[in-house]
């Protein structure tokens, strides 16, 4: 059941024929009206409470911090091999392997140092929108228009047909938009066009927890760094970013300041904040303990949507991949852009910093991936 509240208030028709039912309808409407005004007042109270603590802007606090110099970042590797748009990628914990997925249905595992392809799988569907590397490095997960998330154990034998060992784990009722292993190979978190997120046991395929609260497609998710505990953040077409408790399934915080779909969410390395990228051409930073947006990264000249964001190791830099084919690099503290990177010949659709922060990788609709350092 999708939560689309506003519609229902205008269309409750009273039944005039049976007096009892009419009275019940009237009572129902009164209760609904009461609940509606209660929710409105709670919403404004929430805004008031948040505003009280808004004593300063992040960039003001950061005024005394030394500015960043010029950055020399360029493409160090180009990974060619996909036959169509690259939609998603993820790094292996070994800091050199990458898994990527494409509109052509192919999932490829690369050695980013040498640019060699190590594995390739053809999915039974096109638009493989999500892929993830298992923490052990021994498996990858992927899915898309098939509404599923499947896990493929990676074989050392190059001749082995990976598709034979495929395990279907997650089942949604619409496309899979994102997936991520938790801190082990045993559980996977998924988000879907069906408006929900879900946590699954890989071995049994059992649904462990589902997360309801988004009013439209969920497009992205990110797990909190393990030290911060069992939460994750999701972003969706309802312009909301929700923070969830993985054990209870409860939405514990919600942020609605973007003006369009949120395509990407990523935790700040300390786990105390997260960044988002949206079709409204901005990236934003939300602090979880202040419970509010604390920075907007935007420029009048940037009018194309952000598809993907990630932080550098210290959290000082925020990289954003944009639909205008560029990567903008932002000073997270000062709110200014420090660099703009060119190279891709079509939209940047996915961007991830490597596990040790020595490089970042981008995937694009131009069919390639690039490694930047």
């Amino acid at each position: 059941i999708l939560f689309i509240f506003e519609q229902y208030f205008c269309h409750i028709v009273l039944s005039p024929l049976i007096p009892e039912m009419a009275t019940q309808e009237v009572q129902l409407n009164e209760t609904l009206a009461h609940l509606k005004s209660e929710s409105e007042s709670l919403k404004s109270k929430l805004e008031e409470e948040r505003a009280k603590l808004h004593d300063v802007e992040l960039h003001q606090v950061a005024e005394k911090v030394e500015g960043l110099g010029q950055f020399v970042m360029k493409t160090r590797r180009t990974l060619k091999g996909h036959g169509n748009k690259v939609l998603c990628m993820d790094w292996c914990k070994d800091k050199r392997r990458i898994v990527s997925s494409s509109q052509d249905g192919k999932v490829i595992v690369w050695d980013a140092f040498t640019t060699n392809k190590e594995h390739a799988v053809t999915m039974p569907c096109t638009w493989v929108m999500a892929c993830a590397y298992a923490p052990s490095g021994c498996a990858v997960a992927c899915g898309g228009l098939d509404n599923k998330c499947s896990v493929y154990p990676l074989s050392l034998d190059k001749n082995e047909n990976l598709a034979a060992k495929k395990k279907s784990v997650a089942m949604h009722t619409n496309y899979l938009s994102a997936c991520s292993f938790t801190n082990s190979d045993m559980q996977i978190l998924t988000s879907s066009g069906d408006g929900t997120c879900a946590l699954w046991d890989v071995e049994s395929g059992q649904l462990l927890q589902s997360f309801h609260g988004h009013a439209a497609d969920v497009l992205c998710l990110d797990l909190a760094p393990s030290e911060t505990g069992n939460t994750f953040v999701s972003g969706g077409c309802d312009k909301k970013a929700n923070v969830w408790d993985m054990r209870s399934g409860q939405c514990i915080q919600s942020f609605e300041t973007h003006e369009s779909d949120i395509n990407s969410v990523r935790y700040y390395p300390s786990g105390d904040a997260f960044a988002s990228g949206s079709d409204d051409a901005t990236c934003r930073l939300y602090d979880l303990r202040a419970d509010r947006e604390v920075a907007i990264y935007s420029k009048e000249s940037i009018i194309f949507g952000v598809s993907s964001v990630d932080f550098s190791l210290s959290g000082r830099l925020l990289f954003g991949g944009y639909n205008d084919y560029t990567i903008n690099v932002w000073d997270v503290l000062k709110g200014t852009r420090v660099s703009i990177l060119f190279g891709h010949e079509n939209r940047v659709s996915t961007l991830r910093v490597s596990p040790d922060g020595t490089a970042f990788s981008t995937g694009s609709w131009d069919h390639t991936l690039r490694i930047w350092a």
Binding site: D55, S312, S314
Partner: protein, 82 residues
Amino acid sequence: MTSTSTLSSMRRLVEQLKLEASVERIKVSQAAAELQQYCLQNAGKDALLVGVPTGSNPFREPRSCSIGQDVVLVLGLDLGLD
């Protein structure tokens, strides 16, 4: 959708809002100071921010050539590999 399910959705919304309203918050000035502190403490390890000593960023090294580095040096070739 019937009125009763609208009612239960509304009740859930009100409960959710109460939960969100009850979150403990800190001032932005304190939150911002802590974000800044984390950045500055970890800046030294951030290769994309400060760079690393030449030779220790594997991606800044040229792609490993199958011939082998030694042969390349002996022949005095500058392959201009990025």
